[in-house]
């Protein structure tokens, strides 16, 4: 087991280094630079700005310096902001993570319930109804859901603030907007996973020995039926907690998602590479957690991993 974890961690480091490398060179291959703007800027100023951020060094030297910093966990200095990339992540990740975890809680709670209930009433109208709802949740993009929620709940009814997080009530609409798609996906995955398991022999045995249907479903069947959901939760959690530009824009939330998009437009090389490396690190870590949970839920998988 330890060997398995160590191998996965080592592989993860390789993935991070590869992502950093690709990001680094792709971005610099893009036309324009961080200091191109419509405002006039004399070549002298451009020169001194580029000097300050070591952009005039040979590319290989910039790359070596970046990777050396990365090895120490230093993601570099932002070109457009006074902060370092580490500080930017430290300041904005908690906001994204809080919203993401709220959304995740909603997605798991609501999604699992919907999935299980649908599976139990397979091919009856609650199944069709719930799955239609799930499909709606998946299909409506957050840039539609968000503004509609704002328009209805905040502007029309005045129940919740339309923008900014100023107290707990500010998290409600962003979390719902963010979590809706994941709720739908989880509901569908849970239903499919459970349906497959409910047809298996051990479930029939459990029912045959007279266990209550509640115990059969929630204790015995779900343990295996939830596997597809768990697999999905790895990347889903990584995506949820690392921020969403749309939600941050609609609700004016200072999260991390902003930097995934805006640093491309700004050509803020260290920030973009930094947030992607951070995201990949989360993804690698969560996928490892998913594998470990799998082993725990289904001992046959643990056997294979040994």
């Amino acid at each position: 087991m330890i060997q398995f974890v160590a191998a996965r961690l080592f592989g993860g480091l390789g993935v991070i280094a590869a992502v950093a490398t690709v990001c680094f060179f792709l971005l610099r291959a893009a036309p324009g630079g961080p200091f191109d703007s419509e405002a006039r800027m004399s070549p002298e100023i451009q020169h001194s700005l580029e000097e300050r951020y070591h952009l005039r060094d040979p590319l290989w030297r910039q790359y070596a310096a970046y990777m050396a910093g990365l090895a120490h966990g230093d993601l570099g200095q932002s070109i457009k902001r006074p902060q370092t990339v580490n500080e930017l992540i430290a300041a904005h990740f908690p906001v994204s993570a809080t919203i993401g975890l709220c959304a995740l809680g909603m997605a798991i709670g609501l999604g699992m319930t919907m999935g299980v209930e649908a599976a139990r009433r397979h091919n009856r109208w609650p199944d069709h109804g719930l799955m239609a709802l799930a499909l709606i949740g998946i299909s409506i993009p957050s840039f539609v859901v968000g503004p509609m929620l704002v328009s209805l709940v905040s502007v029309r009814l005045g129940w919740l603030p339309p923008v900014r997080i100023d107290g707990p009530s500010g998290y409600v609409l962003p979390a719902i907007t963010l979590g809706l798609i994941y709720t739908g996906v989880i509901a569908r995955l849970a239903r499919a996973g459970l349906l497959e398991v409910l047809g298996q022999d051990f479930v029939r045995t459990a029912r045959a020995k007279g266990l209550a249907e509640r115990v059969v479903v929630w204790k015995h069947a779900l343990r295996l039926g939830v596997l597809p959901v768990v697999t999905y939760l790895g990347p889903a959690t990584a995506a949820l907690i690392s921020g969403s530009l749309v939600v941050e824009k609609v609700f004016q939330v200072p999260g991390l998602g902003f930097y995934f998009v805006n640093s491309i437009a700004d050509r803020d090389y260290p920030v973009l590479t930094g947030v992607f490396v951070f995201y990949v690190a989360i993804l690698v870590a969560l996928n490892l957690v998913v594998d470990l949970v799998h082993s725990w839920l289904d001992p046959r998988i643990a056997q294979r991993n040994r």
């Binding site: 191109d36 006039r40 002298e44 020169h47 300050r52 840039f143 805006n262 437009a265």
Partner: protein
């Protein structure tokens, strides 16, 4: 990325709110607190680094200037009580008031102003605002590390002579100094024990200035002090006694230098002969702010010396680049001194809190020299990255005013009724000192008649119908206020009748005005005639297709591109449209890789000579149309020494006329500012540069009874 459809959905879901005002009008409970929906997170609030109007609104309440922007966007005396202008319009002497203080209690002196100048044009600061001081003597050479003072005689030049690097090669660092012992970086005159940073023995630091120069601080004791920069980590500046520093740089580089061409005209052979190129050693050269055109004769006086006559220099004196910054804070944390707890301010307000991408809170300063002018105790600047979010926040009563133009364009049809009349009492539009235009690359479209045909073919009057922000259609390059809306005093200053078409630029309220030439306005007959002429001249080289570029992501650029395409199709020209990502677009247009492209220009001060006409000077870095006409150049040079500003404007007008007739640019409209302000907000005037004195505003709790 812009999320235009967001607001479209929003508007659709919302419908048109009824009522006299746009959204809720909450009761005023705190009349001395303004909640301001600013746009975006400011890129910096340091006056040396802030560049956008968003950031400057915050910078300008925190940092006082020699002059500040009044309600017309014109300079109003503040730190300076008055100024003298030399006969040749080169030298400007500002007299500072007594009693102005930093928020830490220290007096603000002329040295603080000089320090800001040195800081902005020093290459280590890498200030994007250094261009604003580009007229100062040797400022550009200093920024490029190419101007030096000779430390000892070299060839024909005596010690103390100002020389510049003569070749075009890379600049050589001669400002690096080491020390045999550790250096204790501290405030000027402080004991070594109070050092806030240390530099290890032998580590090289950059020498920025020494005491005793024309503009650097005076030594508080008999000793000479040196101000150095240690680049380790975030970097730190500090003072050390000069004796602790090596007198000369290490190594022995050779640099070809010659006397700076102070006032010599280009091509002046006798002047060239008087400054032979000699080889100097690195140790012979000193990089020092003494080469700059600034001098501080005493603590209350600062003198600016420009290389050329600069009639608009007083107009520059409210610029951020000239707003002093506190050396004690900047030195300790060069990149991070503007954080709460570290920042030292000089303006009406001081920084209390900065929550990144959420809000910046500023409170009344206890040390501001003119407390009676400050009506507010607190301003909260919300960083609203999304325009729909800003408008919604205003709508629900979350903020009292929205920064100009931070309103989604999809809301405009709802806010403005027919004829551009506002539907709500709290919404208004005003002219902005900015012009939207299309550049023509004169290298690719070298035929003048073809360019003129393109200009004549566009009916600008139709554009506001789809841009829907009360934009002011014009064929004039220099933006301004519609002549039809000027008052009697301004009409007299402009020397035009009320019925005159077009816009005029007010340069001094009721006293000085610039009326730009009319330009090549819509005229299909003229367009066809020019086109026929172009066909004759170009023959087989007449282009079958042209391409027009715009930056993707903003709906209005696309609409205008399509409108222009249709207009040019009407005279038989096929124009392809190309949308580009912003940075690529900027880089391509700068490099001349385009035929036609949209662009805009926003002025810092109401003066076309410094803000708009330079866009078309031969070889200027942002001359995107690559236009170069000796007649235009000659007129601008002719205007330079003219002291009488009315006569000067007349020459500038002729210059603009020459340029616009060549059609390197097709002006389309003057930008407008769109303002949402709750009805209880008082004295929050807007000005054409969108830099209102926010601290003079206040909130009227009894506004309903005062109507």
């Amino acid at each position: 990325m812009r999320v235009g459809w967001l607001s479209a959905v929003m508007a659709a879901a919302c419908g048109l709110p009824d009522g006299e005002f746009f959204g809720r009008v909450p009761e005023v409970t705190e009349p001395r607190r303004l909640r301001y929906c600013n746009s975006k997170e400011p890129e910096a609030i340091d006056p040396a680094l802030a560049t956008t109007t968003t950031a400057m609104k915050i910078t300008h309440v925190l940092f006082d200037g020699l002059t500040i922007y009044d309600q017309h966007g014109l300079p109003e005396a503040s730190l300076a009580t008055g100024w003298d202008v030399s006969e040749d319009l080169r030298t400007y002497t500002f007299h500072l008031r007594d009693g102005a203080r930093w928020s830490n209690g220290r007096a603000i002196t002329a040295w603080d102003v000089a320090y800001q100048v040195i800081r902005v044009v020093h290459p280590l600061t890498a200030s994007p605002n250094a261009d604003n001081l580009g007229t100062l003597k040797n400022a550009r050479g200093y920024l490029a590390r190419r101007v030096f003072v000779l430390r000892r005689p070299v060839g024909p030049y005596p010690a103390g002579e100002l020389v510049e690097q003569a070749d075009k090669g890379e600049a050589v660092r001669v400002d690096l100094r080491a020390s045999s012992g550790p250096l204790a970086l501290r405030d000027l005159g402080a004991a070594a024990g109070t050092a806030y940073a240390w530099v290890a023995a032998g580590r090289e630091v950059a020498l920025v200035m020494t005491t005793g120069g024309r503009a650097s601080l005076r030594s508080p004791d008999a000793r000479a002090w040196a101000y150095v920069f240690d680049a380790t980590g975030d970097g730190v500046y500090g003072w050390v006694p000069a004796v602790e520093l090596d007198r000369e740089p290490r190594g022995d580089v050779a640099i070809a230098v010659r006397r700076v061409a102070a006032n010599a005209l280009p091509g002046d052979r006798t002047a060239e002969a008087a400054r032979p190129v000699v080889t100097a050693r690195g140790r012979d050269l000193l990089v020092t702010p003494d080469v700059l055109g600034i001098a501080v004769p005493d603590a209350r006086t600062i003198v600016f010396e420009n290389a050329e006559p600069t009639p608009y220099f007083v107009g520059l004196s409210n610029n951020r680049a000239l707003r002093p910054t506190p050396i004690e804070a900047v030195s300790r944390w060069p990149r991070r001194w503007t954080e709460p707890g570290r920042i030292v301010t000089s303006g009406p307000m001081t920084l209390t809190a900065w929550r990144e991408r959420d809000a910046i809170v500023v409170d009344r300063s206890a040390t501001y020299w003119n407390p009676g002018d400050v009506r507010l105790d607190r301003i909260t600047f919300f960083a609203m990255d999304d325009q729909a979010a800003a408008a919604n926040f205003y709508f629900t009563g979350g903020c009292d005013a929205v920064a100009a133009n931070n309103i989604p364009s999809t809301y405009l049809p709802a806010l403005l009724g027919p004829g551009g009349k506002s539907r709500y009492a709290d919404f208004r539009t005003e002219p902005y000192l900015g012009i939207y235009f299309a550049y023509l690359n004169t290298e690719k479209l070298a035929n003048r008649h073809l360019r003129r045909a393109l200009a004549f073919a566009v009916d600008r009057a139709q554009i506001p119908r789809f841009t829907q922000g009360n934009e002011i259609p014009t064929a004039q390059l220099t933006p301004g206020t519609p002549i039809s809306s000027l008052d009697v005093a301004d009409l007299a200053a402009c020397g035009v009748a009320h019925e005159t078409r077009g816009v005029a630029l007010i340069m001094t309220k009721g006293a000085l005005c610039y009326v730009p030439p009319p330009g090549l306005d819509y005229n299909l007959v003229a367009a066809q005639a020019e086109l026929a002429q172009a066909r004759v001249e170009l023959g087989a080289a007449f282009p079958t297709r042209l391409s027009y570029r715009y930056n993707a992501g903003t709906e209005v650029h696309k609409q205008i591109a399509e409108y222009l395409q249709a207009a040019w199709a009407r005279i038989g020209l096929t124009v392809d449209l190309e949308a580009q990502e912003w940075k690529t677009f900027v880089a391509d247009t700068r490099a001349g890789r385009y035929e036609l492209a949209r662009f805009g220009s926003i002025g810092n001060l109401p003066d076309t000579e410094s803000e708009f006409l330079p866009l078309f000077r031969c070889g200027a870095p942002d001359n995107r149309s690559r236009y170069c006409n000796p007649a235009f150049e000659q007129l601008l040079e002719q205007a330079r020494p003219v002291r009488d500003r009315v006569a000067r404007n007349a020459i500038l007008r002729r210059a603009e006329q020459v340029m616009i007739e060549d059609a390197p640019v097709i002006p389309l409209y003057v930008y407008t500012q769109k303002h949402l302000q709750k009805p209880y907000v008082r004295d929050l005037a807007s000005n054409p540069v969108d830099q209102p004195p926010l601290w003079r505003a206040w909130l009227d709790p009894a506004w309903r009874s005062h109507r």
